[in-house]
Amino acid sequence: MENVSSSGKNKPSCACGCAATPANEPRRGFLAKATTLVLGGAALGTPLIVGLISFLNPLRQKTQAGRFYRVATLEALPDDDTPLKFPIIADRKDAWTLHKNVPIGSVFLRRVGPKQIKALSVICPHAGCFIGYDAAAGGFLCPCHTAHFDLDGRREDPEDSPSPRDMDTLDGVEIRGDEIWVKYEQFQMGIAKKVVKR
């Protein structure tokens, strides 16, 4: 014990015995400081970088969309122009879990001609709530920040609407026999331009 305290008093020494003596004073110049900083940064940075690499993995992942799905039969749609909401049934992957045949989203379908169907995404372009059909008003209403849309999905009050753009139309609609197939896509929210979300 005495040993430690006596040696600690005058000469600073290192456990490895490399005796850092005050005689080296002049050499503690810029180079030494820079080296120390770089070494320290490298020591701290290594685990951080290794972690960050996997942290950034989500950027490589894509939303699952862009395929055609069978949504409904022609018969299921009423003859008037009331829109009906239909689920898109497909496989949904949540990280490592694969859910077979579950609803992955919904679309509004509306008949505009005997064999002509219009499809609108239920996802609000504002912040992604699900828009509902408001039968009383004869249009659509988003429950989260009350954006109103007409039957074609146009904003009722473009100046004042919380939504930056009209409802997103799904342009890939195909009639195969008596079945309605829709190309399901999601779009980036909160911006005026309709950009497919990836």
Binding site: E75, A127, G190, I191
Partner: protein, 604 residues
């Protein structure tokens, strides 16, 4: 003893440090109001302890987050209390930090030499908001998922980087398991660590500031023991408030503590989703467009950032008298504005029938789920939603609204009545019951709106028959009709009529013979009569019969060629071609017939 003391002191310096602490003085008099920082430290320890115990029972993944919270809330002894105190203490921490922040500004204590103390408190407030936001998601119930998803979605509105930021925040392209584990890490590790660092720094800076101030104005009162006692009283008051809130909903029943909503459904969006109270002002600000047509980016990102910058600069602007006054005005305006906007939102939601309906529906589901889980004996691996999907009580109304309420009413004078968009078919309330059938055999009612009034059968044979048979009745005819009603209704085997059906077994047997006499000219009943002219009466309104008529009303067994407008919901053997799945029809049928599980003693 002395030797021991000096040995410890020489190695650690602890004794000197303790002595210094004991000799510390508070400026001015000992006061409860000075205990705020201490109480905040205590609250952190409280959250750390309760949080660790919660974390031991929590599984952050989409398939088990809600389930593990359910387990805590309903099965673990005292689990509900643990959740509740952790929840309310979190809210109280925000209030504490807020009060400290405002008091510092009002008192001018954010200026030199306390700038760093002030910044620490400001950052503590932000970290607390982060803790509330991340903690909210973890329960993974309808509201927590939807409300958080909306807020994270706002990131997408940032130009260029939005999409990438969203993916990073959600730890994937969609909200899911990884979002939960990331939020758990933030909530239980990173943010608390930041909170702790800020607490220590705050304490450190405050001590330095006190020393600087004490040099100018010495004296004051000793810290030990009176101020310490005052601090502990502060802690007790704090604890009392937290426990009072946690126990406000009682200590028994499913709703005690903090209610757990029904589990998040990734395919749906909760219509009444709202942020917690702490964010309501911000929500109101963007909702009422305080800054005009600037849109989301302005209201959610730019305006709050500007406010934050103003706060950060306060110690400098406050050096001037006018700046100090402006700072006070700013804080008061923001506080009043926050309260006002929050109030406006609550008032708007309160008077919005759609919003209230969504809440009611969600509460019904949330109350129903524990019942179903107990009945099932546990949660199946497919998750609690699978139980809910097969539950007639909660799913029936939704299916009815979707498929039947275009034409049919379901109206019995209760709050949950379902009105048809355009009532053009019989009211299906109390389907198959004695009252319902009695009305059908009543000449005054059968052609009314409740029955065939709006259908092609208004001028049909059945209406003629009922008018002819039962218009001017002798007393014994009346009795006959009564027996007919009992017998026909007994065919339905409704759970609600089980007792009276058993009691009236004799009359029912008589009634069955009358059915053969009266009805089998057109209807088939047992071996009498034949199919093709009118619906079969064997098993009328029974489960099997009802499933059949929904599947295909134009089947010869039902209306055949006379079918009036009703769609066939499951005509084909290929389920994907049908309007409803077989399972859905069964659930709807069970609901129409009032046939679902209720725990004993629930009054149903």
């Amino acid at each position: 003893m002395k030797a021991l003391c000096s040995w410890i002191e020489s190695r650690t310096g602890l004794c000197g440090w303790l002595a210094a602490c004991g000799a510390a003085r508070v400026p001015g008099r000992v006061c409860l109001c000075r205990s705020l920082p201490f109480v905040l430290g205590f609250a952190f320890v409280f959250q750390a302890i309760t949080g660790i115990f919660l974390l031991m029972r929590y599984c952050p993944s989409a398939a088990s987050a809600w389930e593990s919270v359910y387990w805590l809330q309903y099965e673990v002894q005292g689990g509900w209390l643990l959740r509740a105190v952790h929840h309310y203490c979190g809210q109280a921490v925000l209030v504490l930090v807020g009060v400290q922040f405002v008091v510092m500004i009002l008192r001018g204590a954010y200026r030199a030499p306390r700038e760093f103390v002030f910044w620490c408190v400001l950052l503590l407030g932000i970290v607390t908001l982060g803790l509330l936001l991340t903690g909210d998601l973890l329960a993974w119930d309808e509201n927590s998922r939807s409300a958080t998803l909306t807020r994270v979605n706002f990131l997408q509105s940032l130009p260029e980087v939005g999409g990438a930021l969203f993916k990073l925040a959600a730890a994937g392209p969609e909200f899911g398991s990884l979002t939960l584990s990331q939020f758990t890490t933030l909530h239980a590790l990173l943010l608390p660590a930041a909170f702790l660092v800020l607490l220590v720094l705050r304490w450190w800076f405050a001590r330095r500031a006190t020393t600087v101030e004490a040099a100018e104005a010495p004296a004051g009162s000793p810290y030990w023991p009176r101020q310490v006692a005052a601090n502990l009283v502060g802690c007790l008051v704090f604890l009392t408030v937290v426990f009072a809130l946690a126990l406000a909903h009682g200590t028994t029943g499913d709703g005690r503590g903090v209610a757990l909503g029904s589990p998040a459904n990734p395919a749906e969006f909760y219509e009444a989703a709202r942020p917690e109270w702490a964010f309501m002002g911000l929500y109101g600000m963007s909702e009422f467009k305080v800054f005009g047509g600037g849109g989301t980016v302005v209201h959610i990102f730019i305006a709050p950032s500007i406010m934050l910058c103003l706060f950060l600069l306060m110690p400098f602007t406050g050096r001037f008298k006018i700046g100090h006054v402006l700072n006070i005005v700013l804080v008061v305006v923001l506080l009043v504005g926050d309260v006002y906007l929050s109030y406006k939102i609550y008032a708007r939601d309160d008077s919005d029938p759609l919003h209230q309906a969504a809440i009611r529906q969600s509460q019904l589901a949330a109350a129903r789920i524990p019942v179903l889980i107990r009945h099932h004996g546990g949660i199946p691996p497919e998750g609690p939603l699978a139980l809910l999907r097969n539950d007639p009580k909660t799913q029936g109304p939704a299916l009815f609204k979707r498929h039947c309420a275009t034409c049919h009413d379901w109206v019995g004078g209760a709050a949950d009545d379902i009105k048809a968009e355009e009532s053009s078919a019989p009211n299906l309330f109390a389907f198959g019951s004695r009252e319902k059938i009695a009305g059908l055999l009543d000449p005054k009612q059968i052609a009314g709106d409740e029955y065939f009034g709006n259908t092609a059968f208004k001028r049909g044979k059945m209406v003629d028959f009922v008018r002819e048979m039962f218009s001017d009745m002798e007393p014994e005819d009346l009795e006959d009709r009564n027996l007919l009603v009992m017998a026909l209704s007994a065919e339905a085997k409704l759970p609600a009529q089980k007792v009276i059906d058993q009691k009236d077994a004799e009359q029912i047997a008589e009634g069955r013979e009358l059915i053969v006499d009266y009805c089998t000219d057109c209807h088939q009943f047992g071996k009498s009569g034949r199919l093709g002219t009118a619906p079969e009466l064997t098993g009328y309104a029974s489960r099997e019969w009802t499933v059949g008529i929904i599947a295909n009303p134009a089947d010869p067994r039902f209306y055949g060629k006379n079918n009036d407008r009703m769609q066939a919901y499951a005509e084909s053997d290929d389920e994907t071609k049908n309007l409803m799945t077989n399972r859905e029809i069964e659930v709807l049928t069970d609901w129409l017939r009032g046939d679902w599980y209720e725990p004993e003693g629930s009054g149903q």
